[in-house]
Symmetry: C2
Subunit: 108 residues, 2 copies
């Protein structure tokens, strides 16, 4: 699950969230967004962890801020964001950052 990102610099979107109870279509949407993100220009990789209790962190890596902006404005993704605020998430934070250094250990 550890993404083999290229040498920095590159960019990251950190999405931290707390789910509402129940699935309510979340699983299907989530799988579709992973699939769709992988098809976007400038996509470099993704790491995602969610607990049974509904806390999640998804980190996606991108070549540029422009690539992150285009993904944010993707029509299908915009609809998922809208439904997310209505149904799936009680709270979330999105942070955009520039990766300056990285280090890998083991068979990552």
């Amino acid at each position: 699950m550890i993404a083999r990102t290229p040498e920095p610099p590159y960019f990251v979107a950190i999405f931290t969230s707390a789910r509402t109870p129940g699935d309510d279509g979340y699983g299907a949407m989530s799988a579709r967004m992973v699939e769709l993100a992988r098809e976007q220009p400038g996509y470099l990789g993704m790491e995602s962890v969610r607990t049974a209790g509904g806390h999640g962190i998804t980190v996606s890596y991108w070549q540029s801020l422009e690539a992150i902006g285009a993904w944010k404005r993707n029509a299908e993704h915009l609809e998922a964001q809208r439904e997310g605020r209505e149904r799936w998430y009680g709270a979330y934070a999105v942070r955009i950052a520039k990766v300056e250094r990285q280090h890998f250990f083991g068979d990552a």
Copy 2:
């Protein structure tokens, strides 16, 4: 579990890891490192998620690269890092990034 970070810019250390099986002292070390990180100069907050299957992402926020460097070199933390490579982690990645934008939704 969503950190109330201040307005950017600030810095983030993204730690993505795959645990080895069993606890083997990991839980106690992990709790101690959270406690210790909170005492460090420049610490702004932390978000951490780990699955039962052993995949984890911990994101810690800091005022400066210098604060992250000092935390990395903290003696007790260095020992935890050494033991981590020997016992607790099959693989991990550490990425250091500068947060440029953030957005919160809900009761985050």
